[in-house]
């Protein structure tokens, strides 16, 4: 036990790998001291596990309709009740975690790097490059995200993939803005002047020296944004433009339950709660990460 | 040499066994460990390197130690009033009115969206019942007292419109308008050019000689402290290594009586008159902190 903590906490690491791991371990120690962040982490990990083991967790087939069992209230058999087609809501929420994760991951993978690169390049190079890139960013920022996403989905046609593309197209500008703001500060620093003095190319400076410093605030921004992405996806689902039936997507489930909202409250409430909890989880995690990663 | 303190007069500040501790997750950091001194109507220099606890001493006297720090002392008395047992409210009133502090960089101590004059007037009205006009007049008079040439014009300027030296004079004016008995100046001239530095010191000097104020001058600059102060406390690792009249610092004949740390500090400074190929470096003896 003590040997590996010694390895991680030593003042004088003997290799690059040990130095990096030690740094990560110190961040973890700081993270661990924040109970809210831990709560966020638990929720996110739970979401991952539920998505991974959905077939084992779900008691029923999420797509199996049974019109005899329509709109049953929560019970020992159907924990969260059944919907208007007699499908088990609990099972649908469990499988819905997969859909949610897919949306979130696809958006993050496409948005993060694009926003980062556009922002860092714009901020570091300045001049006409900066002006051009930032005006494009402003155009995207000028529309409310859901409205813009709606327009894109309308053009591309409804469906999960198109919803992801639409959300990704609308989500990058804030990332570019954050990365640019960071870069404007970073490029004034003496350590950047020192690399310039070593004869590094601009590309190398942006990629190897500026980007690593923008990364923490972007990761934080992403986790904080996850909630927004989930809600946008749910919103599109609610409007019937996202995941198409019978895919169990949380937003679409709320939408389907809105006719019964007064008589059969459970149909819309449980998917709503799921969105709420997951969004909160990502938010708490993001907050915790910010505290840990932003200390320089 | 002028008399440091007339023996019959009560000292302005008495401090016995002052300790400042910070409780951190990795243990207690002891920033000041057992410092004692008395302050009369004089210029008392506290000199030391970073981490010596010199700034913490100044802050502890004003009760400005941030969380998670704690201040302990056997005795902390301002003109017969015990600061340790005093309630927070009375102590806060004392601060600014009777004991004031000037920090290193005026840029960070002035409110950027208020004119400097308004800020001085505000400082006056916090401690004195006065009309807006009276406060303004007092402020302009105070700006004049710190050698600002067009006080009426400067009164209307915002902090970003004044130079570093002028900003520091404004800070001093603001601290002095309440006519405190004690001024704690924490590196008041370190951010300034040498020629401006001397003008600020002149103002502080006049305040001590003319108003009989007590000045605690905290600095890392041994030369400056030696030429400006009456008495000097040399601090290292939260402890006073020695307390001595400033004149003895420069006195070559008295060198043998100096603490090795003081000698070390003096020795590692480059000197115009005594050029040497290699500067002496300081070896720190753990026994100093025992």
């Amino acid at each position: 036990m003590t040997t590996w903590t010694d390895y991680l906490t030593t003042d004088s690491p003997t290799s690059r790998r040990q130095a990096r791991l030690g740094q990560l371990y110190r961040q973890w120690l700081a993270f661990k001291r924040n109970p809210l962040a831990i709560a966020g982490l638990v929720i996110v990990v739970a979401l991952l596990l539920i998505a991974a083991f959905a077939p084992l967790i779900a008691p029923h087939n999420p797509l199996a309709q049974n019109l005899d069992k329509r709109l049953l209230p929560p019970s020992a058999v159907n924990f969260f009740g059944t919907d208007s087609l007699g499908r088990d809501i609990f099972s649908r929420i469990v499988y819905g975690a997969r859909v949610t994760l897919v949306i979130v991951l696809l958006v993050v993978i496409s948005v993060g790097p694009v926003g980062l690169l556009i922002g860092a390049t714009s901020g570091y190079l300045g001049g006409w490059v900066d002006r051009l890139l930032m005006r494009i960013t402003d155009v995207f920022l000028a529309f409310p995200r859901l409205v813009l996403a709606l327009a894109f989905v309308a053009a591309l046609g409804p469906g999960l993939e198109n919803a992801v593309i639409a959300i990704a197209i609308t989500a990058w500008p804030p990332y570019a803005r954050v990365a640019r703001a960071e870069t404007l500060i970073i490029r004034q620093q003496d350590y950047i002047a020192a690399v310039r003095l070593q004869g590094a190319s601009q590309w190398r400076i942006v990629w190897k020296h500026v980007v690593p410093l923008c990364l923490p605030s972007l990761i934080v921004r992403t986790t904080l944004d996850m909630a927004g992405i989930i809600l946008t996806a749910a919103g599109l689902g609610f409007l019937g433009l996202g995941a198409q039936p019978p895919i169990p997507e949380w937003g679409a489930m709320i939408s389907a339950g809105r006719e019964q909202i007064f008589d059969q409250w459970w149909v819309a409430t449980f998917p709503g709660l799921a969105i709420c909890v997951v969004a909160l989880g990502f938010n708490l995690l993001g907050d915790g990460l910010r505290d840990v990663m932003d200390q320089r | 040499m002028r008399a440091l303190t007339t023996p019959t007069e009560q000292p302005l500040l008495e401090l016995d066994n002052l300790r400042v501790n910070f409780h951190t997750p990795t243990g207690i950091v002891r920033a000041v460990r057992g410092l004692s001194f008395t302050l009369g109507r004089e210029r008392l220099g506290i000199v030391g390197e970073s981490g010596s606890g010199k700034s913490m001493t100044g802050r502890a006297i004003l009760d400005l130690i941030p969380y998670p720090g704690e201040v302990l002392a056997d005795r902390l008395v301002y003109r017969g009033q015990d600061l340790l047992t005093m309630d927070k409210r009375t102590r806060r009133k004392l601060r600014g009115r009777h004991i004031s502090m000037v920090m290193q960089d005026p840029k960070f101590s002035l409110n950027p969206v208020q004119t400097v004059g308004e800020q001085i007037a505000e400082a006056y009205r916090v401690h004195h019942k006065a009309s807006a006009r009276e406060a303004r007049e007092r402020s302009i008079a105070m700006l004049e007292a710190v050698q600002i040439r067009e006080p009426g014009r400067v009164y209307e300027l915002y902090p970003h419109e004044v130079s570093g030296g002028m900003g520091q004079r404004v800070m001093i004016a603001m601290m002095l308008i309440a006519e405190p008995d004690i001024l704690i100046a924490d590196e008041p001239t370190s951010a300034l050019d040498v020629t401006v530095q001397l003008q600020i010191l002149k103002i502080l000097d006049d305040l001590v000689t003319e108003r009989g104020m007590g000045l605690i001058f905290i600095s890392h600059d041994l030369h400056l402290v030696q030429s400006f102060c009456d008495r000097v406390i040399v601090m290292y690792g939260g402890k006073a290594m020695e307390t001595l009249p400033a004149a003895e610092l420069a006195d070559e004949a008295a060198r043998s009586q100096r603490h090795p740390y003081t000698l070390g500090l003096l020795g590692c400074l480059p000197d115009l008159d005594h050029p040497k190929a290699k500067l002496a470096t300081l070896t720190r003896d753990p026994a100093w902190l025992a």
Binding site: D11, S12, P13, T14, S15, R16, Q18, A19, Q189, D190, Y191, A193, A194, V195, R196, L197, Q198, G199, R204, K208, H209, P212, L213, R296 | E49, S50, Q147, G164, D193, V194, T195, Q197, L198, Q199, L201, K202, D205, H220, L222, H223, L224, Q226, S227, F228, G264, L265, C268, L269, P270, D271, L272, D273, P275, K276, A277, K278, L279, A280, T281, L282
Partner: protein
Amino acid sequence: MTTQPAIALDKLNVSFGDAHVVKDLSFTVQPGESYGIVGESGSGKSTVLRVLAGLNRDWSGEIAILGKAQPKIRDKAFHRQVQMVFQDPYGSLHPKKTVDDALAEPLTIHGIRDAEARIGRAMADVGLPPSFRFRYPHQLSGGQRQRVAIARALVLEPTILLLDEPTSALDVSIQAEVLNLLQALRQERKLTYILVSHDLAVVAHMCERLLVMQFGRGVEEMTAATLAARAPQTAYAQQLLTASEGFKRQVATIPA
């Protein structure tokens, strides 16, 4: 042997927008010489250094390094000859890079093979123990950071080092160590220094000749001996000298 000066500046002018911060500045520094620039804030002394380093491109005039006229955008050969040490050891090291990263970077950029040996040597030269190699800047003290910055500047084995107030952010005892280190390195490697500082005693200790600057102009060039003899010709240089001697009640009057 070359008789070319290491650095020759002729009629250098620098402007930022409307602000004309360096005016018609000319000086030359011989190879192996240590040249000081002193002045108060706003004198343009740091700007001169940044222009020499190629970090600032808003200048006109002529700059020749080792006999070669320099364009605004410098080439790789220039960077192997000229390196710089910055004032603030807390701002001049990348917070997410270890000592090893900082020293390896210039070697990678210039495609130098024996990185392992060179990093070890550079660290030994500046007195950093090998155990510090994989530390992050936040695990180092101010003096140690400045040693890393010096090692980083030396790892390309330049002949000219530009020093921008290299010790003004350090405690005096650490300052002595860093100044001694810089002196020793200069002797060993026959380096040429330009040292910018506000501290006359430091400049007199480190340099043979120095230039006093005020409001962007060179006011007076003198030898360190002239400075030590308190014999500058100009009133401003005299004033700086007097002010640096510390506080004297009778002299500290405010000029009208």
